[in-house]
């Protein structure tokens, strides 16, 4: 009947100009499948999961492969492990996620949060932006920022220096911390905040922790220490995303399930841990590249910045600033303990491990080498290990091929192709061009 009506309507319209406007106008070309605008609360889960997913995905895999926690042994990962396969297109997914799915969404959300005076919401968005920018510039150095995210208004964004991006990062974090201390505005973040459930106190700690992470790289150890002290005070306060189950499983679980055998535990790390008699943690980590394993499970807790990282920042800055005090030493041990907790190991295993003087030499005997080695192990699969290794050279790693381990990532192939203001492929060397804070 409906069809007949439609036919009749069509007949009538075919004869008269009067009907034209109704026949083809109005709602016909309005997309019935997708909205043209959405509130901030509808955007939040998308960019939070996108951020957790790319951090635990491309950033974790490439960073930890270059830092020799994992080894590419099959298919494309075999040649990437030899560096020859690290062509620009391999970095497309990471780059595209950062700009399209995170920074652009944050910019849209910030504009509406700012316009509506949602101060606490805006603070959260700025913390997230700072985190994202730092993650990106740490591997890509200079990148578009001031001229970026403008769509067709600026189709060839110019590149900002890493130093100026770090200035933005610190300003964003400072502003967020200021906003968290003021009136929240009309919209209170809630359950749609998948990291902290809208808990502004925890966001405030995360902002300090992220700032500490950045100041470390910039070489401001006293600033980093003071920020770290204001960071999270237990693993329960980690900035993290909890994947629900196999229907939306964690990145490493999905990778291992769909690309079984491409990446394995790295012999370098195995040797390092074996030498330290780190057998309990090794037993958990060494078999993780198997989808049935108990660590990289479907309902993985993807940490973005953690209590144990903060503890290691305190230990390192304390060592650098004060030559190693009890407080620093305690933080060092707390970092190791948090790592044991994270891997599901108990007090007994921890006690046995720190009984060894090579691990716990006592305050005064601690060295940067020991701190950073323990951080390297404790930060297993966290992209930050790549920054730490570039910053300190600890642990000592030998290139898998050629004379040099890459010290940065290539830009995405799409950027080389489509952005006339991008440096050309030949101008960027992943072996020689250290990022700003590493020069």
């Amino acid at each position: 009947m409906k069809s007949i009506n439609k036919l009749l309507i069509m007949c009538v319209f075919a004869f008269s100009f009067v009907g034209c406007e109704n026949f083809i106008g109005g709602e016909i070309n309005k997309d019935p499948n997708n909205p043209t605008s959405v509130p901030v609360i509808a955007q939040m889960p998308a960019f939070q999961i996108a951020m957790a997913d790319v951090y635990g995905g491309a950033f974790s895999r490439f960073s930890c492969m270059l830092s020799q926690q994992v080894e590419g042994v099959a298919r494309q990962w075999q040649s990437m492990n030899q560096y020859t396969g690290l062509t620009p297109n391999r970095f497309d997914a990471a780059w595209n996620n950062i700009y399209e799915n995170i920074l652009n969404e944050l910019a849209i959300a910030q504009a509406s949060a700012e316009a509506d005076g949602y101060n606490h919401y805006l603070g959260i968005l700025e913390v997230m932006e700072a985190f994202t920018l730092m993650t990106a510039t740490d591997v890509w150095d200079d990148m578009p920022y001031t001229d970026a995210l403008k769509g067709v208004e600026s189709i060839n964004p110019t590149f900002d220096t890493q130093a100026s991006i770090y200035t933005v990062i610190n300003a964003k974090l400072d502003n967020a911390i200021k906003l968290f201390g003021g009136a929240p505005g009309a919209l209170l973040p809630g359950a749609e905040d998948l990291f902290f459930g809208g808990d502004i106190a925890l966001w405030n700690k995360a902002a300090h922790a992220i700032k500490a992470r950045g100041l470390m790289k910039e070489g401001d150890y006293s600033g980093a220490m003071s920020e770290a002290m204001q960071g999270m005070s237990s693993a329960a306060e980690n900035m993290a995303y909890q994947y629900p189950d196999a229907s939306a499983a964690g990145q490493w679980y999905r990778f291992n399930r769909d690309r079984t055998g491409d990446l394995e535990f790295h012999p370098t790390m195995r040797t390092l841990m074996t030498d330290l008699k780190d057998t309990d943690r090794l037993a958990v980590m060494d078999q993780v590249f198997d989808p049935s394993h108990t660590y990289l499970v479907a309902d993985f807790l993807q940490e973005l910045i953690s209590y144990r990282e903060v503890q290691f920042i305190i230990a390192e800055t304390d060592f650098r600033n004060n030559g190693g005090t009890q407080a620093g030493y305690d933080a060092y041990l707390a970092g190791i303990k948090a790592s044991f907790d994270r891997l599901g190991l108990g007090q007994d295993e921890y006690d046995a491990y720190v009984a060894d003087a090579a691990v716990a030499p006592g305050v005064g005997n601690l060295t940067l080498e020991i701190i950073m080695t323990q951080k390297y192990i404790a930060m297993f699969l966290q992209p930050e290990v790549y920054s730490d290794w570039r910053r300190t050279g600890i642990p000592t790693l030998l290139p898998t091929s050629g004379p040099t381990i890459p010290v940065r990532w290539d830009y995405a192939s799409t950027e080389y192709l489509f952005n006339t203001n991008s440096p050309s492929e030949t101008e960027v060397s992943i072996y020689n061009d250290k990022v700003g804070w590493n020069r």
């Binding site: 070309n29 499948n33 997708n34 909205p35 997914a93 578009p144 769509g151």
Partner: protein, 1100 residues
């Protein structure tokens, strides 16, 4: 003569060749009362016409005149009309009455009476046309043996290119007329059946490089129902269709009943067998493993780089030093992966030499198809009808693949009162398919099959035909798969065809109702409305432990497509005076398209063996609606001066809903105008008539401008979408996630300011006929300039977006089409008709969007098809070897630079001695053929008819991604040779320009490097995909009519029986991305098939 035939038939019958044949004999044997008509056929000068054909109207029985122009024909009682025809002369229908001698004088009338159906169903004399139109008879399509009418068109008209996408039964084909017209939009022609637009879409429910084969919806039409097909090629021919006709139009006229006052019944039945044409060359010499080290399936080793299989033997003792770990043995202590035991070096095992298993060729079976169709047609002065039904059952060359189709069609006409004609048709089609996963997909059939080492047996010792139904061949008791990578890697092919099947069930109704009332010759009012409703219900299953969806998946998709098309036309014409004639057309057209897709997907199944949503722990769903409407107003005037000069002017104003900002709608923003003009000059009219050497000559000229709206609806606004999240290495995850929904600004920016893209076409043609039309030559040249082409222009991602719709592209297409028709031999008993169709078309991309030098169409990172400025449409783009001229002044474009290949001479590099990699991706191939020639021949000898069609496609590159990937794994044939070759330098120069002298052997380290498989280089596997192919060959015998048995035919035909190609993979007629714009990719595609078909057709 008939007695002789009778005798042959009797002999056939005595041998009891088939039950069907004896039925034919029985029917043919009824020699009842009939009369014999004799006579002579001459031309106006009294010369005898040799080989003129005489047909009893409404039957297939007839004869041709002998050397003296004489004939003798038995005419059954009840038949009263004979049809006399001779090439180059007007056909005559003569009522014989009581006469027994009928002498006929034929009047020369080259094409005078030849009427062609043009746009909107308007019939025009062929000589009046100022543009190229080519007609293909329905019988020729049916004769091809193709169940898809698109496939049946191959080689039968100049200007068309058909590519079958897959050897999977029920796989679709892509057709192009005059190459591509749109840069990113649809390029396949509009299909019009009986005056109304018909759906020929190809709907994919998975990624274009993976998933299953997909149909094109014209497959729902039974080729036996086709009366004729007219191919309208250029813009002037199709201008009256507006936007939708910009890619050319295929006009299909279906059979209707005749006004014969009797009932005609046709029954035809055919049986076909299909086999794969050829398979890629694989090495089966070397075992799984790494150089010198055998690594068995339990290690998960991916490559076949191990020792020679001949150097291995079996062992069963778990204490053997090379024995795998305990997990490779079952509870009874038997090795799980091979009943013969595990492999160890020769001399250390039980002395039983290792088997070499062929996991590929024996897997494929002989596909069978059975088609039966019946039609009943009849009618009288006031009404006609034709009712037809057909049934097709086909099984594929891949076990468990199926295609079944049932069609019922009723067409009728009615003349209730003088001047009023009402006609209509309705077609029901029900098709169902069972499909197997293909392409770039860990559950793709060939992906795992071709990579399986020769030392591993995918069937677990069973014969291939038994392994299909033997669970223990491909699965362990714990439901994990038995694969050569110990359950990792890819699905076992036998597991796939039982556990990863796709089902499709298509119900379709289409047809039209048409009414014409003739007030006078000067005013005929017509109304035609067509509808086309398709429901396509799909279910894709992935059992638990599938390598693609380890947790198991069931995906339901339902597509509902509805289109309505209606026309109101006023036409008329006549002579204004003795010299001047006029025809005109005024019309209006309304069209509506609506496609609604709903998907429900269940993931993470609880237990195996029950592939149902209720067994899924995570269920998600989405819907997608695509709709648009258009309105057109049409005017056309044709003026003719004598039979000499014809001038046609037409215009169409279209309004299309896909243009304009939906939030600020203004009708004028959606409108665009197409003018066209064409001229036909029949210069042979000026010459002395009566010349038999030069019989006809015509010059055609035309100009037309057509426009196209955005290829998709909703391109004029930007939206938020529910994103999927991931980075391409594992499955993406999608919302809702744990109760949360999420939205993200679409990566594609809309543009409210889009205007239609405009193409301007100039066409010139020459139609020459000689020797009373026995030789004909038709040449057409055209040139189309497209500007403001709507592109999803790529943006650097730092803009926050990936693409934006822009009116920015420019493209120039040009081509030449030549058709040569000849009847070299025409005698009483013997005739030979031959036709050559030559097609050359080329589309050069002149301009993309600002700052964008290339635009992705389809494919992969290492090799993809792109639009590249200055290059042919859809160039294959990818990694190239570094050339000496790269980066110098001579390197001006994205083409591969000149100079020798540069060799990596850095001794510290792991690729020392290999070709160096150009950091810039280059245009490494052109998938467009240089030209296409179809050579179609029909040779008749008495009642025998022999036909063949040679299909020559010159050039057209294909990226052999299958060989690329297989080289990485050491499975491609060439890796068996290169790994044992003596070390030698690769041709090229070192960085200082001196000839390369670094000797290397191209073994595992070479083929797994960046110049090997999965590396950055694509160019080494771009190959010439051209062919010469025996597309059709057939022999048939036409059965004589006897009284109520009105003749018929029995024949055998072959499709695709032979081809010659330099391509190294499977049959190069293949397309990973189905019917889409990105062509030229072979990545573990299903091999194509060759068929032999036996067909019987009888009329009553």
């Amino acid at each position: 003569m008939p007695d002789f035939v009778f005798l042959i038939l009797k002999l056939f019958s005595m041998k009891r060749l088939s039950l069907v044949l004896s039925l034919v004999l029985f029917v043919a044997g009824f020699a009842l009362a009939q009369k014999t008509i004799t006579g002579t056929v001459t031309d106006e000068a009294g010369e005898a016409l040799i080989g003129a054909s005489i047909l009893v109207k409404g039957t297939t029985s007839g004869t041709v005149t002998d050397l003296d122009g004489k004939y003798s024909l038995s005419v059954p009682d009840g038949s009263d009309v004979l049809i006399y025809s001779y090439t180059g002369f007007d056909t005559q229908e003569i009522e014989i009455g009581t006469r027994t001698v009928v002498d006929i004088i034929m009047a020369e009338g080259i094409s005078l009476g030849e009427v062609v159906v043009t746009a909107l169903g308007v019939e025009r004399e062929e000589k009046a046309l100022g543009y190229a139109v080519q007609q293909v008879k329905g019988d020729d399509v049916a004769r091809s043996g193709a169940s898809n009418a698109v496939d049946g068109l191959v080689g039968k008209a100049a200007g068309i290119q058909v590519t079958r996408s897959s050897g999977s039964v029920g796989g679709g084909s892509r057709i192009l007329i005059r190459g591509v017209t749109s840069m990113v939009g649809n390029n396949q022609p509009l299909i019009v059946i009986d005056g109304v637009r018909t759906n020929n879409e190809t709907l994919l429910s998975q990624a274009s490089t993976a998933g299953t084969a997909a149909s094109n919806r014209l497959m729902d039409l039974n080729p036996e129902d086709i009366e004729s097909i007219n191919v309208l090629k250029g813009a002037a021919a199709t201008a009256l269709y507006g936007t939708s006709g910009s890619t050319g139009v295929v006009l299909i006229t279906t059979k209707k009943g005749g006004k014969k006052n009797r009932l005609d019944v046709n029954f035809s039945s055919s049986v076909g067998v299909d086999n794969i044409t050829r398979m890629i060359d694989l090495q089966n010499t070397f075992a799984q493993g790494r150089p010198d080290t055998y690594r068995g399936p339990e290690t998960g080793e991916s490559g076949s780089w191990g020792p020679a299989i001949a150097d291995l033997e079996y062992a069963t003792n778990p204490d053997h030093p090379n024995a795998p770990g305990a997990s490779a043995f079952d509870a009874a202590g038997n090795y799980k992966f091979d009943k013969n035991g595990f492999l160890v070096p020769k001399g250390t095992g039980n002395g039983v030499p290792a088997n070499t298993y062929n996991n590929v060729d024996p897997f494929f079976q002989t596909g069978m198809n059975f088609t039966n169709s019946i039609s009943i047609a009849g009618g009288g002065e006031t009404a006609t009808f034709r009712l037809s039904a057909s049934d097709l059952k086909a099984s594929g060359v891949i076990p468990n693949e199926e295609y079944n189709r049932k069609t019922v069609k009723l067409a009728s006409t009615l003349n209730p009162i003088e001047g009023l004609t009402i006609s209509g048709s309705v077609n029901f089609t029900k098709s169902d398919y069972v499909r197997v996963q293909q392409g770039s997909n860990t559950s793709g059939l060939l992906l795992g099959m071709l990579r399986t080492p020769g030392s591993f047996d995918n069937t677990n010792g069973f014969a291939p035909e038994d392994a299909v139904n033997e669970v223990s061949a491909y699965q362990f008791p714990d439901f994990t798969q038995r694969t050569y990578r110990g359950g990792g890697g890819y699905d076992n092919p036998y597991w796939i065809i039982n556990n990863a099947l796709g089902y499709e069930d298509v119900s379709r109704t289409f047809g039209n109702v048409k009414a014409d009332y003739k007030f006078s010759d000067w005013a005929i009012l017509g109304f035609n409305i067509g509808y086309d409703v398709t429901t396509d219900v799909r279910k894709q299953e992935f059992e638990i432990n599938s390598r693609t969806n380890a947790g198991g998946r069931v995906q339901h998709d339902e597509f509902n497509t509805q289109q309505y098309d209606s026309y109101l036309n006023l036409i008329g014409g006549g002579r204004l005076n003795d010299d001047l004639g006029l025809n005109y057309l005024l019309g209006a057209n309304a069209f509506s398209f609506d496609n609604h897709r709903t998907q429900t997907r269940g993931d993470e199944l609880v237990f195996p063996g029950f592939l149902d949503l209720s067994n899924a722990t995570a269920v998600s769903a989405f819907e997608d609606i695509n709709r648009y409407r258009s309105l057109g107003f049409i005017g056309q005037v044709e003026l003719n001066y004598r039979s000499l000069l014809y001038l046609t002017l037409s215009a169409r104003q279209d309004y299309d809903s896909r243009l304009g900002d939906p939030t600020d709608f203004k009708l004028e923003n959606t409108g665009f105008f197409y003018p066209s003009a064409s001229m036909s000059f029949v210069f042979s009219e000026l010459m002395n008539s009566g010349s038999t050497a030069f019989s006809f000559g015509k010059l055609r000229l035309s100009y037309a401008q057509v426009g196209s709206p955005p290829p998709n609806p909703y391109s004029t606004s930007s939206v938020f979408v529910s994103p999927t999240i991931g980075d391409g290495w594992g499955d993406n995850i999608g919302f809702p996630i744990a109760g949360s929904t999420g939205f993200d600004q679409s990566n594609l920016l809309g543009n409210a300011n889009l205007t239609p893209e405009l193409s301007t076409t100039l066409e010139a043609g020459l139609d020459l006929r000689f020797l009373n039309g026995r030789l004909g030559l038709d040449v057409t040249y055209y040139r189309t300039e497209t500007k403001d082409a709507i592109l999803n222009a790529s943006l650097p991602r730092s803009t926050g977006y990936a693409n934006v719709w822009l009116n920015s592209g420019e493209m120039t297409s040009q081509g030449i089409e030549i058709t040569l028709n000849a009847t070299p031999i025409q005698t009483k008993d013997f005739s030979w008709d031959t036709q050559v169709n030559f097609t050359k078309s080329e589309s050069i991309v002149n301009k993309l969007a600002p700052g964008i030098e290339r635009l992705f169409l389809a494919g992969f990172n290492s090799a993809g098809t792109y639009l590249v400025e200055g290059n042919q449409y859809g160039a294959i783009f990818g990694g190239a070897y570094l050339r000496q001229d790269a980066g110098t002044d001579k390197d001006q474009s994205l083409n591969v630079p000149g100079g020798p290949v540069v060799i990596n001479d850095d001794p510290n590099s792991s690729e020392y001695g290999f070709q160096a990699v150009d950091p810039t991706q280059r245009s490494i191939g052109n998938p467009n053929p240089d030209f296409i020639i179809g050579w179609n021949n029909t040779i008749n000898y008495k009642r025998f008819s022999f036909n063949f069609l040679l299909d020559w496609r010159e050039g057209g590159d294909l990226w052999n991604g299958t060989a690329w990937a297989l080289s990485f794994f050491g499975k491609s044939g060439l890796t068996a040779e290169t790994r044992v070759e003596a070390a030698a330098p690769i041709e090229g120069v070192k960085s200082d320009g001196t000839p390369n002298d670094i000797a290397i052997t191209r073994g595992r380290s070479y083929w797994t490097s960046s110049v090997g498989g999965f590396g950055a280089i694509g160019e080494q596997f771009v190959q010439d995909g051209g062919w010469v192919r025996l597309r059709e060959v057939g022999l048939s015998y036409s059965l004589p009519s006897r009284d109520w048995f009105k003749g018929g035919s029995i024949g055998v035909s072959g499709r695709n029986l032979w081809f010659q190609s330099d391509y190294d993979g499977i049959d190069p007629e293949t397309s990973l991305t189905s019917t889409g714009n990105g062509q030229g990719f072979d990545y573990f595609n299903m091999p194509s098939t060759k068929s032999v078909i036996v067909k019987l057709s009888v009329n009553f």
